[in-house]
Amino acid sequence: MSKKRRQMLIILLVLALLATVFYLFPLILMAMNSLKTTGEFTSNPFSLPTIMQWGNYSYAFEQMHFLSALTNSLVITVAVCAIIALLGPMAAYTVSRVQSKFVSTMFYMMIASMSAPFQAFMIPLVKLYASQLGFNNSLIPVIYIGVGLNICFSIFLVKGFLSSIPREIDEAALIDGCSSIKLFFYIILPMLTPILITLLVFVAMGIWNDYLLSSLFLNTQDMRTLPMMVRVFCAQYSNDYAPMMAGLVMTITPMLVFYLVCQKYILEGVVQGAVKG
């Protein structure tokens, strides 16, 4: 390795480290300051805590109703993912295998609707689901609409993957007298596993972090999700910054762990989702 090349590698490494610090320092500051008293926090934001204030965490845990918020977030995320995991591939399979004007027209209209801003549906959704159908303060409309907001993307993503599975597999099974539905569940669905993981991890991230949709339907403290509880917490105890940081750490950590485990699929989802255009 030449000297010049080695120098370049060192410069690249330094740049990459600087970039990493730039993108991570807010989180590091948050974690550091979650263990200080509020006084120390405001006077010395960059120092390490002198005495670890673990009490901030138990205080935030109580104020945020952490367990109930965590449960609500989990129920919504798991339910949306389960429904998407089934309906998305089923519809995508139909789109890719059935020659029908109706199916393809519907598919293109669904794709076209993907970039529509949520604000355009927000008010009518509240009116329809909360006022008229009576799903007030309930997780059901959040789950149902959560599915609706992700269904087009999931069909799009899975359909792209299905096009790469050779039709000869279908034809062989169909000739053997297998019905399309059986064929889908026994042969096609297992082959979709990689794209399904990418899809679900991506959808889960969006739903878990959602604030707007859940805030439209969930009104009482026991129904709220984690991102909502952060806000309640911050608005009410705005002078108590240190426990607020502890609350933020607790909100972010589940998603961060999830990300570190599934990061490969999330980054893949970003790339595949971007091509939709």
Binding site: M90, C152, R231
Partner: protein
């Protein structure tokens, strides 16, 4: 045989396709048309007391200086965020496709801002602007850092652009990494052999080769910025003095704070039209150059 096949097809459409279509219709299509109806009525959100007012909501918002101001600052914010996030994203993409050890670890770490929801992120940065940067300002004696950026209208806007670009650039980085990875290595080597310097290789070889990634990222950034909501709410709450209230947040406030649902829906329809126009432009640009990643 043929009829059995036909029956099979119908079963597929009925059992596999229509459930998804039903959900799509009931969560997007019907609410959309219902929303257009709402934009023609005056409705305070309580009970069923609507009055049909025709296009009055639209004429009202088009005459409203606050609406135009909000739309205008959303456009300014969008332009600034799109430029900054794409420059950072390209720089990161280039850096993280260079022969660097542990590239994947760096990619994973830098993407982290996108894992945290907008609300949590807004609050973390709010604290950084309030306490972190002011502490730096006081200790170094730089006067414009000593007061919180969030209490000055122009600086608050800059703060919003910084935070959004910080997050968005890490997202775009992944798409740019994919783009740069697909640039054929022979092209770069050929340019090297021909004596091109690093900048020339970047400008004349790499950048033109990732044109489709740039198109994708530009439009992704435009649409995301135009619909900014959660960071806006958590970081500046539209303040100081409404100077950072972007259009999506304004719609939310008009509806759920001021309880003027007809007005809010009319604004939402305008936002929809703008985003739809951007999407049509995007479809036009991406179909002109083949998108391969």
């Amino acid at each position: 045989m043929l009829s059995a096949q036909k029956r099979d097809t119908w079963k597929l459409i009925l059992l596999f396709f229509l459930p998804a279509v039903f959900i799509w219709l009931t969560t997007l299509v019907i609410p959309f048309f219902y929303g257009i109806w709402i934009s023609f009525v005056k409705w305070d959100g309580i009970g069923n007391n609507y009055t049909f007012v025709g296009i009055a909501n639209y004429t009202k918002i088009f005459r409203s200086a606050k609406f135009w101001a909000s739309l205008n600052r959303t456009a300014v914010y969008t332009v600034a965020t799109v430029i900054l996030s794409n420059i950072l994203g390209i720089a990161l993409g280039l850096l993280l496709t260079s022969p660097l050890k542990g590239r994947n670890v760096f990619r994973t770490a830098i993407f982290v801002p996108n894992v945290i929801g907008g609300v949590a992120m807004g609050y973390i940065w709010k604290y950084i602007f309030h306490y972190g940067l002011t502490a730096v300002g006081k200790s170094t004696g730089i006067p414009w850092l000593a007061t919180s950026m969030l209490s000055d209208p122009t600086k608050a806007m800059a703060a919003l652009v910084i935070v959004s670009s910080w997050q968005l650039s890490a997202y775009l980085m992944i798409i740019y990494v994919a783009g740069f990875t697909n640039v054929p290595q022979e092209l770069v080597e050929a340019a090297d052999v021909d004596g091109a310097n690093a900048w020339q290789v970047f400008w004349n070889v790499r950048l033109p080769m990732i044109r489709s990634s740039i198109t994708i990222c530009l439009f992704l950034a435009i649409i995301r910025s135009f619909m900014v909501f959660e960071v806006n709410m958590a970081l500046t709450d539209g303040g100081p003095f409404n100077s950072t209230e972007m259009i999506a947040y304004r719609i939310y406030n008009t509806a759920f704070v001021s309880l003027k649902f007809g007005d809010a829906q009319a604004q939402a329809v305008v936002l929809f039209v703008i985003v739809a126009l951007i999407s049509v432009l995007q479809a036009y640009f991406t179909s002109r150059k083949e998108v391969q990643m």
